[in-house]
Symmetry: C2
Subunit: 461 residues, 2 copies
C-alpha cells in the first residue's frame, strides 16, 4: 500500500439530528482521545502479565493480583474508591510439569513420541507412577456410548475437531467444550483410566489448551489432559495407518482446602440514583501455564480503563457504577456468585451489568440480553459507535461472572464482543501472553465499553 | 472465558425475503467452507514470504515471484488460464545496509547513539563517506518554511507524530505521508543536505518504516531515511533538554536502468458477456527489508484464493473475471498504469475492479466508488455479509493499482477493508513477515471478496 487514493471520510456527520446525541459524540470522543493517548493500559497490562503472571485461585499470585487491583483503583479514584469483597475459592494446583508419551507400534516397529499435554483444570493427578494404557479414540459422545464395552482399562482420546468452517469460533467452542467439561466422567463411567482431549483451538501450533473439567461424583475421578494439535494430527495419522497406540501420562493435579479470595471492586457513586447500580467487570484469575493476557487481563484492563477515564474526565454518573475484577471465574465462579449473592442480600437494585471476557482484540460490538423495549433506544445510539468501527448489536449475550445477576436478580446484561478470530489461538494456552495483545486494539475496546456505560448511565435502558 | 452462557445466534435467518438471496447465501457459504477448510492460503503465503521473500521491482525475487504467480494460476485454472503482461519498471536498490548515528552534546558531555534507520525508497545514497551535519527538527511544512534560513548544510528531521487519536490509522497515514513523499525535496530547496523522517506507525517498537519519496528535479536529490520510533523519542527527549545533535548517515541507494517486469494475470472467461471485465487484484512487489506479508502478500493471496475457489466450485461467471498480481505498486505504479493503458487501447469494457492492499486482517467491509444508482442494489446484499461479520460499506474507496482504470476508463472501483489497527505496526518495516498474518483472518478476507465479486458478476452494479 503506497498511498491513499480515495480516503473515505470516517467521521461522517451524525445523521441523528438531536443536539443531545451530538453532545454525546463529543463526550465519547473525549473518552477516546484520553484512552488512545494514555500509556496506562499498556503499563497496567504489562505489570499484570509480567510482574504478577498466572494467577489461578488460591495461588500466591492471586493475592498479589488482588492487591495490585486495589492499588490501581485507589490510584485513579482515590482512597475510598475501592474495596475487597471476600469469597471462598477452590485451590487446585497442577503439582509439577505434566508429561506424556505415546508408544506406537506399526509394521513391527516401535516408536516413542513425546506428547505436548496440559492437565485439565480440576483434574486429579495420576500419581508418581503415571498411567499407562492403550488409547481408544472416540469422535463424539455417541461414538463413546457405542464403544462402551471397550473402554475398561483404556485411555479415551476425545478427538473432536474444532470446526473451522464456523465463522464465529465461539460457536465451535460452545459445541465442543462439553467434551472437556464432562468427557472425563463419562469415560470413567465405563472404566476408562484416563482421558485425553483434543485442544479446542483454530490454531495450527502445538500448545495444549487447558480449561476446567467437572467430575461427576458417581464415577472414579480419572486424570485428564488436553493435547496439542500437531500431536493430535500425528496420532490421527498413525491411527489411520493401523498403528496400535499406547499412552503414558503423568500429572500431579490436586486440591488443597478452599481458601480466601476476593473480588476487587472500584466504585463511582451516583449523583441522582446512588442506590441503583451499573456493573462492569472482567475476571482477575487466569490459568497457570500463561500470563492470562487475553483471558482475562484484557477484561481487567478494560474495566480499569473505564474507571480511570471517567474519573479523569470528572464524569459524575447518575447511577453508581461498580468496576469489578472478579475472583475465580476459571474453575469455580465463586466471585461472580458472591457478588450477586451479596447484592441480593442487601436488596441492591442492579440496572445493568457488562462483562468483557472475550479478549483484547479490535472491538466489533455488544451482545445484549435486555428487555425488548430497550432496543428502540439502543437503535438511536448505534450511529455514535460507527466512527469507532462498532457495528454489531446482537440480541443475547452476557458473561459467566454476571450470569448470577442476570439469573437471580433479572439484571439486564451484556457482553463486549471483540473480533474473535484469534481468541482460541491463545485461550488457556501458554501463548496467552502480553505480546499477543495489540495495545491499540485493547484500548479501542475500552473506548467503546466506556461509551456504552456512559449512554446507559445517562439515558437508562 | 470459561464457558458460553448465552451463545448468540450467528446465522440469523436472512430477512431478505427473496429466494434468490437465499440461494446466494448458500453459494457464499460453499465459498466460505472451501476457503476455511483449505490449506492453500497458508501454504501459498508461506512460499511467497519464506521461499521468495522481498520482491522489489527489478530484483531477482521479482522474477521469481512472477513465475510463481503464473504457476499458481496454472495450477488452479489450467494451462490457458493465465499470462504475463510486460511493463517497464524502475530498478532502485538499497545498496547495502543503511547506518546512522547521532552525536549528542549536553552539559559538556558527548554521547554517540546508534540510530535505526532505513533509506526511503528511491532515495539516492550518501556516498561511501556518508553525510554528517547538525540536526534541525521541524514539526510541519509551515515550521520548515519558517526556518528556511537555518536549513543550509543541515539535516532536516521531520518529527511529525502519527496521530494515535484518529480511529482509522489510514487517516493518520494520509495526513503525514506527504512528509515522506515530498519532504526531502522541500528541505533540499533551502540547502538541507539530508532528511530524516519519523516512521509513520502506531507501534512502539523501533523498526524504521520505509516507503517512496518523489524527488522534485528542480532541487538537489538529497538522501533521506526513516527512523525508528524509540530513537525518535530519544532524540526528542535530548533535544528538549537542550542537547545539540549532529547526525551521521550512510546509505547506498541508487537506480539502475529500468527493467522488464510483469503483471501476472489469471482469467476465467465470461459465459454471457466475455468482453466485459471484472478485475480483482493485489500487488506482487514488496519493500526490500521484509517479506511483504501484509503488504501485499495478503492481497495476492486474496486474489489467488478467489481464483482458486471459483474454479474449484466450477463457477461459470457471466462476465470475464481477471485476477491480477500487479507489478511495481510501491515505487512506480507501472503495473497498474500498464493494465489500464492496454485495456483502453484494446477498447475493453471494464465494469468493476476491486483491490486488496490494506493487509490480511479480519474483514470489516468495502469502500466503493460506484454510481449513486448502485447503492440500492448493494443495500440488498448487506444481509448476506453479516454472518461473516462484515458491516462496513463506505462511500468512496479503491486502490492505487486500479486507480488508472477508475480515472481513465471511469470503471467503478472498490477497496477491500480489513481491520486496520495493526497495519501500520508492520507497514514497510522488517516485521512485515509471514508470522504477522493470522491465516484465518486472511482467509475470511478472501471469503468476503469472493462473495462480492460473485454478486457483482451475477447482478451487476
Amino acid at each position: 500500500m503506497r498511498k491513499l487514493v480515495l480516503l473515505p471520510l470516517i467521521f461522517v456527520a451524525l445523521s441523528a439530528s438531536s443536539q443531545q446525541l451530538s453532545g454525546d459524540s463529543v463526550f465519547i470522543k473525549r473518552i477516546s482521545n484520553n484512552i488512545l493517548s494514555s500509556g496506562e493500559a499498556n503499563d497496567n497490562l504489562w505489570y499484570l502479565c509480567k510482574k504478577i503472571g498466572a494467577r489461578l485461585s488460591g495461588s500466591p499470585q492471586m493475592v498479589k493480583a488482588e492487591n495490585w487491583g486495589l492499588a490501581i483503583f485507589h490510584k485513579y479514584g482515590g482512597p475510598n474508591s475501592a474495596w475487597l469483597q471476600e469469597c471462598m475459592v477452590p485451590h487446585w494446583v497442577r503439582g509439577g510439569r505434566d508429561t506424556a508419551t505415546a508408544t506406537c507400534k506399526i509394521n513391527g516397529k516401535t516408536q516413542v513420541l513425546p506428547l505436548h499435554v496440559l492437565a485439565l483444570g480440576n483434574s486429579l493427578g495420576t500419581g508418581t507412577k503415571g498411567v499407562k494404557a492403550e488409547i481408544i479414540t472416540v469422535k463424539s459422545f455417541d461414538d463413546l456410548e457405542s464403544k462402551k464395552d471397550q473402554l475398561k482399562g483404556r485411555i479415551v482420546f476425545y478427538d473432536i475437531p474444532f470446526d473451522d468452517t464456523l465463522i464465529n469460533p465461539f460457536e465451535a467452542y460452545g459445541k465442543y467444550a462439553g467434551y472437556r467439561g464432562v468427557g472425563p466422567s463419562r469415560a470413567a463411567k465405563y472404566g476408562a483410566v484416563a482421558v485425553m482431549v483434543r485442544s479446542m483451538s483454530n490454531s495450527t501450533d502445538n500448545y495444549p489448551h487447558t480449561g476446567s473439567l467437572r467430575y461427576n461424583d458417581s464415577f472414579p475421578k480419572i486424570p485428564a489432559v488436553a493435547i496439542g494439535l500437531r500431536d493430535v494430527k500425528l496420532l490421527s495419522d498413525l491411527s489411520a495407518k493401523g498403528a496400535s497406540l499406547t499412552a503414558f501420562i503423568k500429572t500431579g493435579g490436586k486440591f488443597f482446602p478452599d481458601t480466601t479470595g476476593h473480588n476487587v471492586i472500584g466504585e463511582i457513586k451516583g449523583s441522582e440514583f446512588p442506590n441503583e447500580y451499573i456493573t462492569i467487570g472482567g475476571h482477575l484469575d487466569s490459568w497457570d501455564p500463561a500470563e492470562g493476557a487475553h483471558d482475562d487481563g484484557a477484561g481487567c484492563i478494560h474495566t480499569i480503563e473505564v474507571f480511570r477515564v471517567l474519573n479523569e474526565l470528572g464524569y459524575k454518573p447518575r447511577h453508581t457504577i461498580r468496576f469489578v475484577l472478579f475472583a475465580n471465574e476459571e474453575n469455580g465462579l465463586k466471585g461472580g456468585n458472591k457478588y450477586a449473592e451479596e447484592a441480593k442480600a442487601k436488596g441492591e437494585k442492579h440496572i445493568f451489568a457488562l462483562e468483557s471476557d472475550e479478549g483484547g482484540f479490535s472491538p466489533r460490538g455488544f451482545g445484549l440480553t435486555v428487555p425488548d423495549s430497550s432496543w428502540a433506544r439502543i437503535e438511536t445510539w448505534k450511529k455514535l459507535f460507527e466512527p469507532y468501527h462498532v457495528f454489531e448489536w446482537r440480541k443475547g449475550g452476557g458473561g459467566a461472572d454476571i450470569g448470577p445477576l442476570a439469573r437471580n436478580m433479572n439484571t439486564p446484561v451484556a457482553g463486549f464482543i471483540p473480533d474473535s478470530q484469534r481468541y482460541f489461538d491463545h485461550h488457556h494456552a501458554a501463548n496467552d501472553v502480553f505480546e499477543a495483545v495489540n495495545i491499540r486494539e485493547l484500548k479501542l475496546g475500552a473506548v467503546n465499553i466506556a461509551a456504552l456505560i456512559y449512554l446507559i448511565d445517562k439515558y437508562g435502558l
